[in-house]
Amino acid sequence: MSTALLIMIGLALFLGLVLGYAAIKFKVAESPLVQKIDAILPQTQCGQCGFPGCKPYATAIASGEADINQCPPGGEEGIHKLAELLGVDPKPLNAEHGVPKPKSVAVIDEELCIGCTLCIQACPVDAILGAAKHMHTVIAKECTGCELCIPPCPVDCIQMQVVQEDLTTWKSKYPLHEIRNV
């Protein structure tokens, strides 16, 4: 048990270092506009916009090849921010690309998982852990809710669960009160 823990901790530390190194090493020089657009996109990396990730969509917007209303996870607010950045009029979300959904995370039924690793290969942010033929688990904190792991699973054991509000994510609601107009 403790060795497993140590290995995991070691792995986490190592990957963290690699990640940090990669962030520096693989930094590609790109246009500041693409970066600004990418900063607005939600980074779900779901591909619903028709591009293989948020950065490619950002690049396409920057070069005028894609419209600003193709990202369902970003929703209306995302469109408004893009419109503001680019100095164009906001428009409603293009429903062809999907509709906004409440934030969800993938959950693997550990009873049914056969450890085939297909979901790991599909996950755009490496949020699924597990070795070949061993049960797999989603790290909820890192899951973006992109749903890309669902179709590849041969035994349909992955489900999306809506993230429930808890005390740390609870939001004070917009005040509802009567206003008398004069």
Binding site: L19, L41, I114, V125, L167, K173
Partner: protein
């Protein structure tokens, strides 16, 4: 005579103190059940140390501090752990959080208590012990005290302020504590002074509490501590406001009081520090004012974890027109959605609210920009602008206008002739900004992980290509073995697939999988059909 300074604005609502302050503190009896939340302080939730069925003693640590900003929780009496589960919390949402339920055994049997010889201990060690005693600020903010008692890089904090102002209407728990237990409060202040190496200890009390002032002055004799009566004006008990009144200094916007050499604690926190250090008693109880629409308003010493329902029942029969209980005062508190929640370290006061005591505000009118709110704001903000931006969801603008300096004191609400629930708008705007901050952090993490993944895939591709190149150049690989296996596997896989098709289940994505994996899929599918059948049987069978 010390010169006192004035903070900007403030209001003076009806005090309603005499209702509950006329009687001495009463010990609340043992409740039938104690629900002890693991998160009663700002910071990380404590980690449970016990299991269901364990017998615990009064004062035994049942939740351990987790990380630097966290503190422990303890069993308030002896008994057995009956549950460790998510229970509704005393919060505007009543959302659940992890709690340890204890069924008291009636013996009220203590752990062995030992006083700390704190003057001969390393200050860091004393602070760790305070953390393990569960010390958190009892004024309502419940910040872990050991963190605030660390002078950090500065070798000292010159001024220690004890806050006994208790400026909110209806609340009298600090007043009664100062009247009855002044000596212990001062003993606690001495320990705090020692830990901070403070030169001066100032104790600020609103001048509407003459008995408390007299008791504290008597207890301070020959200590050099100074008890200062401050004018009664809400919110003089705000940390920044009291600091301003007593020292004339104000921490910068977004800064801390230690930036100007001041640390400030509630008097009840000082009392608890004394109980912990001098008697070995962890924080397991607090004084709670129960007042408002009740038969006998009183101050009770209540075990933390006591259900609100059982506590308010002590004041007599519940009146029919009581609509809810407010935790905290009428200015900064909130209505509890249910009385099925426990008393926690932050519960200084429970007010039974009725339509006659707290009538619903009349419908709001549009803002007439009269700036009365700005005159009342003790932080010198422009509430009417903050309202405008919050209402219009212009959160960036609201932040520019220092939304986060707002202490939600409610002075602006109180004076607004248009009866606009201003603070509700500020709370809404603040939590939206926090939510966006969280989303941004998540997006940044996702971006970083995605980029790393792309780089990794790229690297692996290159490595594979390099290997292949090396192979074709080098020795001819003995292809025989490699040739037979895949063929065999493919045939086997086809057989398996056919088998599956026959039995009516068709897993997807099964091309290019190994035979073992296919077999496993087969097994899983068998298990699922069994499960499905069992479930169908269950739903078929009559109830």
């Amino acid at each position: 005579m010390r010169t006192l300074y004035q903070f900007h604005g403030g209001v003076h609502p009806a005090e309603h103190k005499q209702e509950s302050s006329a009687h001495p503190i009463v010990m609340a009896p043992l409740p039938t059940q104690l629900i002890v939340p693991l998160q009663q302080h700002i910071g990380q939730r404590a980690k449970p140390l016990v299991q269901i069925g364990d017998r615990v003693l009064k004062g035994q640590m049942i939740g351990q501090a987790d990380g630097a900003t966290s503190c422990a929780v303890h069993a308030p009496t002896s008994g057995s752990v009956s549950a460790i589960e998510m229970m509704p919390m005393p919060h505007p949402s009543s959302l659940p959080d992890l709690c340890i339920s204890i069924t008291p055994d009636g013996a009220d049997e203590w752990i062995t208590r030992t006083a700390l010889d704190y003057q001969n201990m390393n200050p860091g060690e004393v602070r760790n012990r305070l953390r393990d005693f569960g010390l958190a600020g009892l004024g309502g903010a419940v910040f872990p005290s050991h963190v605030k008692l660390n002078p950090g890089k500065l070798d000292k904090v010159p001024t220690l302020i004890l806050n006994g102002a208790e400026c909110e209407p209806w609340i009298t728990c600090d007043d009664l504590l100062m009247r009855e237990r002044a000596a212990e409060i001062i003993a606690g202040a001495k320990i705090m002074q020692y830990l901070l190496s403070a030169d001066a200890v100032l104790i600020g009390i609103e001048d509407n509490k003459p008995q408390a002032i007299a008791a504290m002055r008597a207890a301070c004799a020959a200590t050099g501590f100074e008890v200062i009566a401050v004018p009664t004006r809400y919110p003089s008990g705000g940390a920044k406001q009291l600091t301003k009144i007593l020292t004339g200094k104000e921490p910068p916007s977004g800064g801390r009081s230690t930036d100007i050499g001041v640390q400030i604690f509630n008097v009840a926190t000082a009392y608890s520090v004394a109980r912990a250090v001098l008697h070995g008693e962890p924080m397991i109880s607090r004084i709670v004012t129960v007042t408002g629409n009740v038969e006998q308003p009183r101050n009770y010493e209540v075990l933390l974890g006591t259900p609100v329902k059982e506590l308010v029942a002590l004041t007599g029969k519940q009146r029919n027109d009581t609509q809810s209980y407010i935790m905290g005062g009428p200015m900064m508190g909130f209505a509890l959605p249910t009385d099925n929640v426990p008393v926690i370290k932050a519960s200084n006061c429970l007010i039974a609210s009725s339509p006659s005591l707290f009538p619903a505000p009349p419908p709001a009118l549009p803002c007439i920009r009269c700036t009365q709110c700005a005159q009342a704001c003790p932080v010198n903000l422009q509430p009417q602008d903050l309202y405008w931006f919050s209402r219009g969801r212009e959160f960036g603008k609201a932040q520019e206008y220092n939304l986060f300096d707002c202490i939600e004191c409610g002075c602006c609400d109180y004076v607004c002739p248009s009866h606009i629930p201003l603070v509700q708008y500020y709370r809404f705007a603040k939590s939206e900004i926090w939510a966006r901050e969280r989303e941004k952090q998540q997006a940044d993490l996702a971006r970083e992980r995605h980029e790393f993944r792309l780089a990794r895939i790229e690297r692996e591709k290159k490595e594979r290509a390099d290997k292949l190149a090396a192979k074709t150049q080098g020795s001819k690989a003995p292809a025989a073995n490699a040739d037979i296996d895949p063929k065999k596997a493919a045939i086997q896989a086809a057989i398996e697939r056919a088998k599956l098709k026959r039995s009516g289940v068709t897993p997807k994505n099964v091309e290019n999988l190994s035979v073992e994996t296919l077999k496993e899929i087969d097994e899983i599918e068998a298990r699922r059909t069994q499960l499905k059948q069992a479930m169908e049987k269950q739903s078929d069978s009559p109830k």
